[in-house]
């Protein structure tokens, strides 16, 4: 049972997001791209379902990552800047509950948007190719997990610094998270600084590459549910750590 205060704060995030243009713009833009995709010249040569799905899911993925960052970086700073935070922490609200509420709200919005896009891709694939590609939803789920991790990271950084720096930090986090395991091996084998960076990447930051199953989806392979569960637990563990550090950081902060 989620505490009332957390639900209230999450509900507010959702309400606010419904008013935000970026949510609509991002989702509509993605939908637009899906619909014009078949007009790309190379498609005319051979309208291949794999390629279509691959590109469409790629667009959805970018939209989801953008949304995760855009929705997360400003939640805490705007409450502090607008001084609405005084009406929250003067009440019996734990700083961790505040952050968890924000986080749940962000995830709810991302999940809704991701499923709209997933449904659209699914619908287009069916319309163009007459194929029911259920793997699309697996791919979308994994994207939501990855967005959840990025959002938790952004929430943590948002307790420390401005939205702009935070956005840069998130992009770096995303980039570094996608360092492939073979590149990591090279780093760990090298000496000195390279090895140190490699160790941090390996043990401190989550590997986001696990989340990418687009190849499998494109090929129509259904991923094992146990693998999805593993990735989900991985996401939850890292998010919990990020949010715990965020709570500590926010409770240290003077307002």
């Amino acid at each position: 049972m989620i505490r009332v205060a957390i639900r209230a704060i999450a509900g507010n995030v959702i309400r606010e997001a419904i008013r935000l243009k970026i949510v609509y713009v991002t989702v509509l833009f993605a939908l637009l791209l899906f619909s014009i995709e078949p007009m790309i010249p190379s498609f005319k040569v051979g309208l291949r379902v794999q390629l279509f799905q691959d590109i469409a899911l790629g667009v959805a993925y970018i939209a989801i990552v953008i949304l995760a960052i855009a929705l997360s970086v400003n939640q805490v700073p705007s409450e502090i800047e607008r001084r609405t935070i005084y009406n929250i922490f003067s009440k019996p609200v734990r700083r961790s509950d505040f952050l968890i509420g924000k986080y749940i709200g962000i995830l709810a919005v991302i999940t809704a948007c991701a499923f709209i896009m997933g449904l659209a891709v699914f619908g287009f694939v069916f319309a163009y190719f007459g194929k029911l590609s259920y793997g699309i939803f697996q791919g979308i789920c994994m994207m939501i997990f990855e967005a959840a991790l990025i959002s938790a990271f952004a929430t943590l950084i948002s307790t420390l610094t401005s939205p702009i720096i935070n956005t840069c930090a998130c992009l770096l986090f995303w980039f570094v998270g996608h360092v492939k395991s073979n590149e990591l091996a090279v780093m760990l084998d090298s000496g000195g600084a390279g090895r140190a960076v490699g160790l941090v990447l390996k043990y401190l930051l989550p590997s986001l590459d696990n989340f990418n199953i687009s190849e499998a989806v494109a090929r129509g392979i259904i991923v094992r549910p146990s693998f999805m569960l593993e990735v989900l637990l991985y996401t939850l563990a890292f998010s919990a750590v990020f949010l715990a550090i965020a709570s500590f950081s926010l409770s240290r902060r003077e307002l």
Binding site: R3, V4, A5, R7, A8, G11, N12, R15, E16, R19, R82, R83, T84, Y86, N87, I88, F89, S90, K91, P92, V93, R94, E254, L255
Partner: protein, 307 residues
């Protein structure tokens, strides 16, 4: 008598920027608010009122000193007994008054059935029933301030802390806020309020502390702080041109054919008699209250600017 809020030797220095330049905001502030009383924190801009209040509510950690609320340290449990109205409050602009109040009530874990009733009652208390469904961004400053008070009362607090509740309001708005606070005190709530106008608080505060540059420079009942040199103004019209004012009037001003004569209390009767016997018409008589600024001039010789 129990104390609702007790501050002991609070001190707070802000560190600004990455170089940590220090800025003393509160140097040494002690005060105790007996339960059921209204306490006024008075001081010029930058005196340290907001900093003191923020420490009391728990937004800032004091460098030193002790804060106790109903005899305990600040905690979630204690905060459920406090209502707080920040300086220049701001709320989620797109929410309606009703939705926003409901949101704040949920932060206190108030049950839905109780909440609906409470929200309606509060909007009524602060005179916003007609605007219950209006988004807060459409509220005037005075309405927002009243909403802020409603928001601070959503948990029916025992201690209400309000930072300049009447700032930026017109005289009618100020009177309304005062009325609301007086009524709340009559219900038994303890109130800490800050202001830089003595006139704003003198009728509702049982006691005030005047602070400047982060220290308490004077403390006591408002009446006592003002009683020295109590004067009255008599405003009169239709006075003949050869009218002679009484000797020893403190001040005489003439504006648009009217005369405003300020006299000390024991000369008031004589001043009124003087005007009547000269054939003048008395438009009004009122006590001239010292402004906080005047009091400051006396107490600290005009040195009111913060550091």
């Amino acid at each position: 008598m129990d104390t609702a809020l007790e501050l002991e030797n609070l001190a707070k220095t802000y560190k600004i920027g990455w170089r940590g330049i220090e800025r003393k905001a509160v140097v040494d502030i002690s005060l105790a608010i007996p339960t059921g009383t209204v306490f006024g924190l008075l001081g010029p801009n930058g005196a340290g009122k907001t900093t003191t209040i923020k420490m009391a509510v728990g937004f800032l950690r004091p460098d030193s000193g002790r804060i106790s609320i109903f005899g305990q340290a600040n905690s979630l449990k204690i905060r459920s007994r406090i209502g707080f109205l920040p300086e220049q409050p701001y709320f989620y602009p797109h929410l309606t008054a009703e939705k926003a109040l409901d949101f704040y009530a949920r932060l206190f874990y108030i049950k839905k059935a109780v909440r609906q009733e409470r929200v309606r009652l509060l909007l009524d208390t602060v005179g916003l029933s007609d605007s219950a469904n209006l988004p807060l961004q459409k509220f005037s400053k005075g309405m927002l301030q009243r909403f802020g008070i409603a928001q601070a009362l959503v948990n029916n607090p025992d201690l209400l802390i309000v930072d300049e509740p009447a700032s930026g309001l017109d005289p009618i708005g100020q009177v309304e806020i005062r009325k609301i606070l007086t009524a709340l005190n009559a219900e038994g709530k303890s109130i800490l309020l800050s202001s830089h106008y003595l006139s704003e608080v003198e009728n509702i505060c049982h006691e005030v502390a005047i602070i400047n540059k982060g220290t308490v420079i004077s403390r006591g009942k408002v009446k006592n702080l003002l009683d020295t040199g109590d004067t009255y103004a008599v405003i009169a019209s239709s006075l003949p041109t050869d009218w002679q004012p009484i000797k020893l009037a403190t001040k005489i001003e003439r504006v648009n054919g009217m005369v405003r004569m300020v006299v000390e209390k024991h000369r008031l009767d004589r001043a009124i008699e003087n005007i009547r016997s000269s054939g003048g018409f008395i438009e009004g008589v009122h006590r001239t209250t010292k402004t906080l600024e005047q009091l400051f001039m006396e107490i600290i010789g005009g040195d009111t600017r913060g550091n």
